[in-house]
Assembly symmetry: C2
Homo-oligomer: 704 residues x 2
């Protein structure tokens, strides 16, 4: 499973060795309290389960899944063929007691109490969903040792810090296949998240089958959308795992795909097509500043909010969608409407004048109010991105903060003072290619809010995966395991913020996620396998494991800014090294630890391991070049392989006290510069071998 | 992707080097005629597609999938965002012309003509499904070289030899997850198969949601079944890929799960449960002969064919199923009913007497006739296993031959003489753990049939995957790539039977199957990854790559016969080495080629490569043992690692002309004996290094 190499795995072993303490557990998210006891519970052929509770089919299913997966994990033949919740063994080794079965909902009781003793395991919870959360913790306690698998004796009391712990997946820009969504739900359940927010429509595509307005999917997509049957299945699948589904249809902007299907909804006549908002040919040579200006000044496809036919349409449409999405929320986007289309339409201007509206913000507020009315009619709480907020917004509408922190902390204060609740996505944008620790150290509660205000006003947070540069082939690489760190931020106590310990656990959880839920390793290997036409992958893996993407929007925007830069379209194959690699380098993390140990102790063991690793990197060039012979793409990125080899050589010189340190440092810094939209993830560690000092990693990265 | 190691990959390179000839292509199934022309078509940013035909949505979807996958394969940004079939480029590089859009059906026209020239590609076919088959061939022609990807200029004329080219998947014994079925359909489309036969019910489980008789899934399964929505989606998914779905509900025997739900259908009262037909505790110490006797003498769960209520039930049930499965076939099993339950029920005996039935065969024929009537009513052709046949069987019923060849060739003659058609599964049982060449060299047309009889009588063939020892975690490892070889047997000319050339192409197709369809490599790595708890896998892969399962029913039956043997139940975790490894060893095949070359040429290069490989195997023991420290399962199978190391050592001695050859041969033969239900796949090659002669591989294996 793990594609990092022998030298570093030795360290991995060292880091996890030693007597078991609370700190050696690999639970994620970290429970509120964990007390290790004496002894261990060993899994044998006597491991049986008794359920004491109202016996909901959803929970029976969860327990059977757990039991089958535990069997596969331990290889032990367990005694029960099927746990029906009715005829259960008297001497069950695991007893699960819960009081009631509930439908997942925000604010539900997800608490549980887990007690593992050498003889038996007791899991108790007020609700079946709480008990499901406890099963996930129990699974994470399973440890192999010598002849078998065990759980350390332990007492866990746990419940979430925040009510709303979400992941947003944009399925509009690139379509994300149905089975990938299901795998994401499995992963979310493992890290105790409870909201899957689907961004179902945007300029580039409309992704839901409508029977009332079938042109939405026919003309609004490239043939890739979810059927209603699939979405109903997804809702059930998610509910079975304690996750609700929040559908988003982005309005009144971000809607080219909708206008392509039903042009009468538009604020101005045009030949609408599902496509990005801007004509890339006209902007690709512009500066970033000019592009920003355009975003504010161009007449983008926008719904006409002045016509009653618009509301008749969306009333019928949201009625239909309410039949598919039973959970209590409806997200209408409301973001990035610059109002230009409205200003330029005389009829709309006349409407505004007749209603005494001074600007397009007032018209947006009017549109939001009408959407609120429709949501109410179908018993949904309205959600929108932060542009949804206006002083007239009803208090049960929810605002999702997305703009970078500094600019909108004040807004959050205002919103909360107005008694609206906030979901925080600012700081959790996965398309920024920030390493996990950046998100992990961002608290969803702005520092300047009083605790009282925070408790009441911050409903929770959401990781956000926008899909301009993500499709079914790499979505899981991009979302996981980073989102596990974010899940811990939302679930665990605010004081749990040791990034290094987070990473130690993250690599363990990543294995579990791949084993039980996602296909992240598989996606990675699939892209690389295609490069090398099924030849031995190792030299390519060696290179890819130590590169991560350039941070911020450099890939998305920078591409356009560069001469000849290519903006990704729906057919741009997302198969480059920047598409394939993780945003955190596991190899890089282990190597950094090794360097830190060596700089601290100057021990022979670390020195030997560092040299061995550097030699492996240095000599990888020959293997890579041999492999590249028949691989067009490896030839294109051979410079990255060269850079790794040269950089390792420089570090080897330095560690052998050869050459000029100043020159070496300069050379390394040169080699660390971005190339092919990626850069070396081991730069600081290599520099430390020259300077003798390991620089801390940046506390923040610029957006561009 | 490929997890075999460097030495052997060198050979892989050698085998595929040299000038391109028809024999260097890796098409599978091999088309009827292929003519290489001069030059090549290179894929560039100008690769666009024009469709000339009636524009069926199914075919538009297929072309867009092809285009996206070609983009990912080549990494080239192609010009079309979406191929709608309406607005197509005038100077398209690929023109696809077809005359009509058809629903997949047995006997449909699947022919196509493909012409690749350096300037353009022309694909023409009478039907859209023929054109889809042609796209698969085109994809398999794509070759990487130097700076990019190309297709050799070539002319292909192709059509299938047999009409029915199926894969049966038993989803009853172990449930096979929905997404695994979809991936199998993708793989079937790649190798041009057209029937997915689902064995949906058996003693162990009933796997379809019935709304008319909901207890079928509620009491007849362990909670694992397909919803009707899923099955409808699967049907559409398969139809889009030119594949029909044939549902099988096994009757009148093999039905414990049905009787558990509706006991009134049973031939005798009992406490029915979804479970295997025999109580394992009572038979596990019996000899094979005694077990066979039991199969013929024990009163197994059987439907009562004498009551009208039985037919009312199945009439309503098949009516419901006809709404889900629109294709023209209904499979009712009809196999392995020993009639004991009928003989022991006095009411049934009285019924037989009153109807003048001399034996239970006559009653079975009566039951089949009634089933035929119901199938007719819902416009389905009836299919059953060979026990369906009786002289009164209507001629449009189809018989599926499954018993091993010798015993039933005569039966096939009789059936064909009776003007019934036959689907052949004998020889294609994937649960026998036979290597691909055994199936490949078995022709579905029995040798003693005249060609005329064969053409008329042999409708086609089906690979059959029974799932006692297969679940979602290893189904793809067991079915693929072997089924690709069987697909070629059914599609290509009977004279295409060079097993060695089949293997050469099989490894290439396996890469394509994993890239575009299945998760066979991923399944393998997932099982091994769990063993080693996410540590470096290499030493475990090195061992697993050279072992294959014991052949025939030794695993399934032998398990029960061995003292303390365990018969697999639904909760037996299928995570052992015998569950994980492939039935063909790719490493073993390449090594055999290397040894053959060496014995032929006695060249220094081969000798060096052989030694290097043997040394790698020999020294792997130390790496394996280090890894096994914290891996309970690796400790259990350490003997297999030792055996590989010792055997490689013996071969090294021999190749160095050390030691006693006779002793070495004896020692190798000892080491080749089965252990943990697997055995060395490189035995004959190692022996050849001692004896100087490479024995041919067996032409057949015993069933037990």
């Amino acid at each position: 499973m793990r594609f990092i190499f022998t030298t570093l795995l030795l360290i991995s072993g060292l880091l996890s060795a030693g007597a078991q303490t609370t700190d050696s557990l690999t639970l994620m998210p970290r429970p509120q309290t964990v007390k290790l006891q004496t002894g261990k519970f060993v899994f044998t052929g006597r491991f049986s389960i008794r359920i004491s509770g109202p016996g909901s089919p959803k929970f029976i299913g969860a327990v059977n899944r757990f039991y089958l997966q535990m069997g596969k994990r331990t290889g032990v033949v367990f005694p029960q063929e099927y746990i029906s919740g009715k005829e259960e063994p008297a001497n069950a080794q695991l007893t699960i007691s819960y009081e009631k079965s509930i439908n997942p909902a925000i604010g539900m009781d997800e608490s549980y109490h887990l007690n593992v003793s050498p003889e038996k395991i007791m899991l108790t919870a007020p609700t079946d969903i709480g008990a499901e959360r406890g099963l996930q913790t129990l699974y994470q306690l399973v440890t192999p040792a010598g002849g078998g698998f065990y759980c350390p004796a332990v007492e866990v009391n746990d419940s979430p810090r925040l009510k709303w712990r979400g992941l947003m997946i944009d399925v509009a820009r690139h379509f994300i296949p149905f089975e990938v969504l299901k795998r994401n739900v499995d992963a979310m359940a493992i890290v105790k998240m409870n909201v899957l927010h689907l961004h179902l429509s945007d300029d580039e595509g409309f992704r839901v089958e409508s029977k009332v307005y079938p042109k939405l999917q026919e003309n609004g997509s490239n043939g890739l959308f979810y059927t209603q049957d699939q979405l109903k299945e997804l809702v059930n699948y998610a509910h079975d795992r304690g996750v609700i589904i929040v559908p988003e249809f982005d309005l009144p902007g971000h809607c080219s795909s909708i206008l392509a299907a039903y042009p009468f909804l538009a604020s101005y006549p045009a030949n609408y097509k599902p496509a990005g908002r801007f004509n890339m040919d006209t902007i690709k040579n512009l500066s970033l500043g000019k592009i920003m200006l355009l975003i504010n000044q161009v007449r983008t496809p926008t719904v006409d909010p002045t016509k009653e036919t618009t509301y008749v349409f969306f009333d019928r449409f949201f009625k239909e969608m309410s039949g598919i999405f039973p959970d209590a929320y409806l997200h209408v986007g409301a973001d990035e409407n610059n109002g230009v289309a409205w200003k330029q339409n005389p009829d709309i201007a006349a409407f505004m004048k007749s209603k005494g509206m001074k600007n397009t913000d007032a018209l947006q507020a009017y549109f939001v109010k009408r959407m609120y009315g429709i949501a109410q009619k179908y018993h949904k709480r309205l959600i929108g991105w932060e542009e949804l907020f206006n002083p007239g917004l009803p208090q049960d509408a929810i605002v999702q903060k997305w703009k970078p922190a500094a600019s909108t902390d004040t807004l959050v204060k205002t919103i909360i003072a107005h008694n609206n609740q906030v979901i925080v996505s600012a700081g959790y944008y996965l398309d920024m290619y920030f390493p996990a620790y950046i998100h992990y150290l961002t608290d969803p509660v702005p520092a300047n809010l009083g605790t009282a205000g925070a408790d009441k006003g911050i409903l929770g947070g959401e990781a956000a995966m926008w899909s301009e540069l993500v499709d079914g082939g790499n979505e899981e690489i991009r979302v996981w395991p980073r989102t596990a760190a974010i899940a811990e931020r939302f679930w665990s106590a605010a004081g749990v913020r040791d990034a290094d310990d987070m990473y130690r656990r993250l690599w363990a959880i990543d294995f579990e996620l791949n084993d039980r839920a996602i296909d992240e390793y598989g996606s990675y290997i699939k892209i690389l396998g295609r490069w090398v036409n099924d030849k031995g992958l190792d030299p390519a893996i060696t290179v890819c494991n130590v590169y991560t993407q350039v941070k911020g929007y450099k890939r998305l925007m920078g591409n356009m800014l560069a001469p000849g830069g290519v903006h990704p379209t729906l057919t741009t194959p997302l198969v480059s090294i920047a598409d394939a690699v993780h945003t955190d380098s596991e190899t890089g993390w282990y190597f950094r630890h090794l360097v830190a140990t060596y700089l601290d102790k100057h021990d022979a063991t670390s020195l030997k391991q560092i040299k061995s690793q550097l030699q492996e990197w240095q000599s990888n060039k020959a293997r890579f070049d041999a492999l590249a012979g028949n691989s067009p793409y490896l030839q294109q990125i051979a410079d990255l392989s060269d850079i790794l080899s040269i950089a390792a050589g420089v570090a080897l010189q330095a560690i052998n006290n050869e050459g000029n340190k100043e020159e070496q440092l300069k050379q390394l810094q040169q080699l660390e510069k971005p190339n092919h939209e990626v850069q070396l993830a081991i730069g600081l560690s290599l520099e430390a071998l020259v300077t003798g000092k390991l620089k801390p990693e940046p506390v923040a990265y610029p957006m561009f």
